[in-house]
C-alpha cells in the first residue's frame, strides 16, 4: 500500500532521522559520562533554539516515518479499505506528533 509519494516520505524522513539519532545517542553518552543532573541538562536545553530545532525535527521525522511503517504493517496483516488505512496513518502520525511535541516543549521551552 505504498505509492511513490509515501515511499519517498518514508525514505526522506529516515535520512533526516539517521544523523539526528546519532546526535541523540552522542548527547546521552556525554550527559551520562559527565554526570550531569536533570537540572543541569534542563538548564542547557530550556530556551535553546538549537535543541528545540534538533528534537523538533526529530519528532516530525519520526512521526511521519513511523506512521507510514505502521500503515504498511497493518495493510499486510489486515484487509482494510484504503480510507480506513489513511485514517489510521494520519491518526498514528498525529498521536506521535502530539506526544513528541509535548516532550520537546517540556525540555526546551522556558
Amino acid at each position: 500500500m505504498l505509492d511513490i509519494r509515501l515511499y519517498m516520505l518514508q525514505r526522506i524522513s529516515a535520512l533526516i532521522m539517521a544523523p539526528l539519532t546519532l546526535g541523540h545517542i552522542a548527547v546521552m553518552i556525554y550527559a551520562i559520562q559527565g554526570g550531569l543532573t536533570t537540572a543541569e541538562i534542563l538548564g542547557r536545553t530550556q530556551g535553546s533554539v538549537l535543541w528545540f530545532s534538533f528534537y523538533g525535527t526529530f519528532v516530525i521525522a519520526a512521526s511521519v516515518h513511523a506512521a507510514i511503517g505502521l500503515r504498511v504493517i497493518l495493510s499486510e496483516m489486515v484487509t482494510l479499505p484504503r480510507f480506513a488505512l489513511s485514517v489510521f496513518t494520519w491518526g498514528s502520525c498525529l498521536i506521535l506528533l502530539f506526544m513528541g511535541a509535548r516532550a520537546v516543549s517540556a525540555v526546551t521551552m522556558l
Partner: protein
C-alpha cells in the same frame, strides 16, 4: 547416490481453492524421474480426473509450476531425488493464485499485472524502418538482457510474501518485465513505465526479502530489477515530482 524405495508416498491437492484436501497415492519410484512425471503417472494410472497443466516438458514454456513440499518449482525440471523427504512428496497448486481445479491455477491475475505494470513495448519507429543496431555491451542492454529469459512460470509470484499479503502488488515478474522495457533503448515511453510501477501496488511495496530471486528456476534476479525501478522512480520523483 542415495537409494530410493520402490514406491513413494505422494500427496496431491484435489479440489479448488475453497474446498479440497490432499489425496494420497503410491507411485513407483524410478531412477530418473521428475515431479511432472510423478503427476502424469498418477493421472494416467490412478485417477484420470486429476487436473494439471504442462506443455513443453523441457523448462521453456513455464506452464507446469506447482508447489512441491511447500516450495514453488518448475515440475518438469525438478528431479524427485532432489526434493523427496522421508519418501514423501506433497504436490499442490501454485500459491497466490486462484485454483481452478486440483493443480491447475488461474494465471489471469498474474498476466493482468504484466499489463498493469506497462510491460509492453512502446515503439519508436514503424515496421518499415530499418532495424536499429544495439550494442550488446550497452549498459541499458545489459540490464534488459538480465531479465529477458523469464518464462512466465509464476514461481516468483508464488514465492512472494508481499503478493500474499497485498493483492494489489504487481509482483516480481511483472516488475522485472517493466524494468526490461524501461532499459530498452528502443522503447519510446519510459515515463509510462515509471507511472505504472509507482502506484499503490507498485515496486515500492517490495520488502526485498528475495524469495523471487531464490526460487527463480532460470536464475534471474527480479529483486535487483525492483531495486532498479526504486532507484529510477526516486530520481524521477526529484526531477519531475512524480
Amino acid at each position: 547416490m542415495s537409494s530410493i524405495p520402490d514406491m513413494m508416498d505422494v500427496s496431491i491437492w484435489r479440489g479448488d481453492g475453497t474446498f479440497g484436501q490432499f489425496e494420497s497415492f503410491k507411485v513407483p519410484a524410478q531412477e530418473s524421474q521428475t515431479i511432472l512425471d510423478v503427476v502424469a503417472w498418477v493421472q494416467q494410472n490412478q485417477d484420470p480426473t486429476l487436473t494439471y497443466r504442462y506443455a513443453c516438458r523441457v523448462g521453456m514454456c513455464g506452464s507446469c509450476a506447482m508447489m512441491v513440499n511447500g516450495v514453488p518449482r518448475w515440475t518438469c525440471r525438478t528431479h524427485v531425488k532432489k526434493v523427496l523427504v522421508n519418501n514423501n512428496l506433497e504436490v499442490g497448486p501454485l500459491r497466490n493464485l486462484p485454483v481452478i481445479k486440483d493443480l491447475a491455477t488461474d494465471m489471469d491475475p498474474f498476466f493482468d499485472k504484466w499489463v498493469a505494470a506497462e510491460g509492453v513495448h512502446h515503439p519508436t519507429k514503424t515496421r518499415d524502418a530499418p532495424i536499429e543496431p544495439i550494442l550488446p555491451t550497452n549498459a541499458g542492454r545489459v540490464e534488459a538482457s538480465s531479465g529477458i529469459e523469464c518464462i512466465n512460470c509464476s514461481v516468483c509470484y508464488a514465492a512472494c510474501d508481499t503478493v500474499a499479503n497485498n493483492p494489489d502488488y504487481l509482483g516480481p515478474a511483472a516488475l522485472q518485465r517493466a524494468w526490461t522495457v524501461y532499459n530498452d533503448s528502443k522503447d519510446a515511453n519510459k515515463q509510462a513505465v515509471l507511472d505504472a510501477v509507482s502506484g499503490v501496488g507498485g515496486c515500492h511495496n517490495c520488502h526485498s526479502q528475495g524469495s523471487c530471486t531464490v526460487h527463480c528456476p532460470n536464475g534471474l534476479n527480479p529483486m535487483n530489477a525492483i531495486a532498479g525501478l526504486k532507484r529510477v522512480t526516486a530520481m524521477s520523483f526529484f526531477k519531475n515530482g512524480k
